[in-house]
């Protein structure tokens, strides 16, 4: 992409979004979600089916109508459980988007890439818009592309860690090689980190803890929204080079060429 244009949309399975910031809802007081959505300008909000499944307190009621819901399958330990939770989300009226989260380890909550590919195959066949959360791995991403995923969502760092782009080099490979939208998820704790992911060429970023753990949630949501826009614009503008060694060599190695 060579020029900034006003029609720069995020397109996922034919659905267009103006915002490239996706908000996670898991760690908020529900009454803060609306403000965070507005301040960050988010158009997609994730929510755990296991939370939305509550009879007395319905998170969905707190999410503005014009926002697309992306239910996630957290709590699933294998493909079979993720498929069941996704189907339940659809029955609950959460739409066709589903974020696949499969964890078989309660300590680090790392996604199980192999089971995620299996679940993606099944759910894509059933017409879901499948958004798999993965460890950034090129082979997995290619398998997901073949399985019918609508995007890939590699993690930047361990979930909840606010550590930023620990897996930067591996995410860059996905950005370079995978034709699906690459949405950087998990571990982004500062707006600057979200901005950096966008500068690298990520199509969108997602954040929950980074905002939820801030002292002023809605102000931090606004900061993330601004950072994502800035990062996207920088990417589209084509960043200038960074001189890693501090200077341009005054006697270039190729100076000997005479013709």
């Amino acid at each position: 992409m060579s020029a900034v244009n006003n029609d720069d949309k995020l397109v996922i399975a034919g659905h267009e979004f103006n915002s490239r910031f996706i908000l996670g809802s898991g760690k908020y007081s529900v009454n803060l979600i609306k403000a965070a959505v507005e301040q960050a300008g988010a158009e997609i909000v994730t929510l755990a089916v296991r939370r939305a499944n509550s009879g007395t307190e319905n998170i969905i009621d707190y999410i503005p109508d014009n926002v697309t819901l992306m239910p996630n399958t957290s709590g699933a330990r294998d493909a079979r459980e993720a498929v069941r939770i996704a189907r339940l989300a659809r029955e609950m009226g959460c739409g066709d988007f589903v974020k696949i989260e499969i964890m078989r380890d309660s300590k680090y909550l790392m996604p199980d890439n192999i089971e995620t590919v299996k679940a993606t195959e099944i759910l894509a066949d059933e017409g879901f818009i499948v958004m798999p959360y993965i460890m950034p791995d090129l082979y997995t991403a290619r398998d997901l592309e073949n399985a019918g995923a609508a995007a890939v969502m590699p993690l930047a760092a361990p979930i909840g860690s606010n550590k930023g782009l620990s897996s930067k080099d591996f995410i860059q490979m996905l950005i370079n090689e995978i034709d699906l939208p690459v949405i950087v998820d998990a571990g982004l704790g500062r707006p600057s980190q979200a901005c950096q992911a966008m500068e690298m060429g990520a199509d969108a970023v997602m954040c929950n803890t980074g905002i939820a753990s801030a002292k002023n949630v809605s102000l931090m949501a606004k900061a993330f929204g601004g950072a994502v826009k800035a990062g996207r614009q920088a990417y589209l503008a084509g960043p200038g080079r960074v001189l890693e060694n501090g200077a341009d060599p005054s006697s270039p190695l190729t100076g000997f060429i005479s013709e």
Binding site: S29, R50, R51, S54, T56, R104, D105, S106
Partner: protein, 379 residues
């Protein structure tokens, strides 16, 4: 302590031996302030760091420990607090545990709810808005057998989204049956990991068989339960050793069964007023806070439940710092949730926080916390 007939032995498991060996090697008095500072500085809490955080040397650092615990809680759980209530369906017990109000020699009003009464109790609880229930029995297989508990789980499935069990330990095929009936989490209180003290305190009954109890969580996971809870009754023996053993036990189980959802409960024996000189190792609120924070830092992803044996002000603060789960609308008697159930059985213990579900919910909200009725899906 040989197994009784019918008790399943886990001959291939070395977890109990590892826990006991770690506990025996733990010398709380050997830690220094430097050890504690190192533990506070580390990104990941090692077993040795955990030992330091539980030690007397850590006592002057309680504020810093609480700050670190709170950071971990926020990172893993945000400001959420899960709410639930226990339902005692029977208080018959065939054990003689010298410290327990339900023990078989205590002349109390014994009661066991029939299925209709269980349903009425559950309806009354569900009407408060709760979606998680913990089913408890006294430890009598004869009076409350596995089929009876299973049927209670089936009834609970109609009203609740998450069902936990605190019952006598059973074999893995029985845990499998109870899981199929709808239960997903099993908590077994070890009381104490000091096997000599354990035998002294558990004078009669199947509960005397120490290894069968220690291995209960592992059998539960083999039976398909998703979560297991751990807890020593702090104050029965050396509470620092017991807290250390509880953490190591949970940690080894999680390592062997990485998918298991781990939780801690933190009951304590109440110190007697002015008893400090008699028992300098009593667990006061300060010590309890130190232990709960040490659990949080050692296993930041684990659930921690705080009992109604603690006062409201202590509980409300603990969920802000380290605990993740709080009971409300609690009655430890048999059949006391519904007005329809008559002749309620006696209570197991006196509670210190008698607030209703609504009162706890509003108190949490007022503190900026987010009370959550359900964060679970039975699949």
């Amino acid at each position: 302590m040989t197994y009784l007939p019918g008790m399943e032995e886990l001959e291939d498991s070395d977890i109990m031996d590892s826990v006991i060996s770690a506990m025996n090697g733990y010398d709380a008095d050997s830690y220094t302030s430097e050890d504690v500072e190192r533990a506070l500085y580390h990104d990941f809490c090692t077993e040795d760091d955990f030992g330091a955080l539980l030690s007397p040397a850590a006592a002057p650092y309680l504020e810093q420990i609480a700050q670190k615990a709170q950071q971990e809680k926020l990172k893993h759980f945000g400001n959420t607090v899960l709410m639930f209530t226990p339902l005692y369906i029977s208080n018959y017990c065939s054990n003689y545990c010298v410290y327990c109000g339900f023990n078989c020699h205590n002349d109390i009003n014994r009661r066991k709810l029939n299925y209709e009464e269980i349903e009425e109790e559950m309806q009354a609880i569900a009407a408060t808005g709760l979606e998680e229930v913990l089913i408890l029995t006294g430890e009598s297989r004869e009076k409350s057998d596995v089929e009876y508990i299973g049927e209670a789980c089936r009834i609970a499935r109609k009203y609740f989204r998450y069902i936990g069990l605190e019952i006598y330990p059973v074999n893995s095929d029985e845990y499998q049956y109870l899981h199929d009936c709808g239960a997903d989490c099993v908590t077994v209180f070890q009381e104490t990991y000091d096997s000599v003290m354990y035998e002294k305190l558990h004078v009669e009954g199947h509960k005397r068989i120490f290894p069968y109890r220690v291995n209960a969580q592992e059998r539960a996971l083999r039976g398909g339960m998703r979560g297991v809870g751990f807890g020593a009754l702090l104050g029965l023996s050396d509470f620092r050793k017991d807290a250390f053993a509880t953490g190591i036990h949970a940690s080894l189980i999680q390592k062997k069964y990485p998918q298991a959802e781990i939780s801690f409960s933190c009951p304590r024996l109440r110190p007697i007023v002015n008893n400090d000189k008699i028992n300098p190792r009593d667990v006061h609120e300060r010590e309890l806070l130190q232990i709960v924070c040490a659990y949080r830092i050692f296993m930041p992803f684990a659930g921690i439940t705080i009992s109604t044996r603690e006062r409201a002000g202590f509980r409300d603060n603990l969920v802000k710092i380290a605990a993740t789960k709080i009971s409300a609308g609690v009655s430890t008697g048999i059949g006391s949730h519904s007005e329809k159930v008559e002749n309620a059985g006696d209570d197991q213990f006196v509670i210190s926080d008698g607030r209703t579900v609504d009162e706890v919910f509003r108190a949490l909200e007022a503190e900026g916390m987010q009370p959550v009725m359900n964060d679970y899906i039975y699949v």
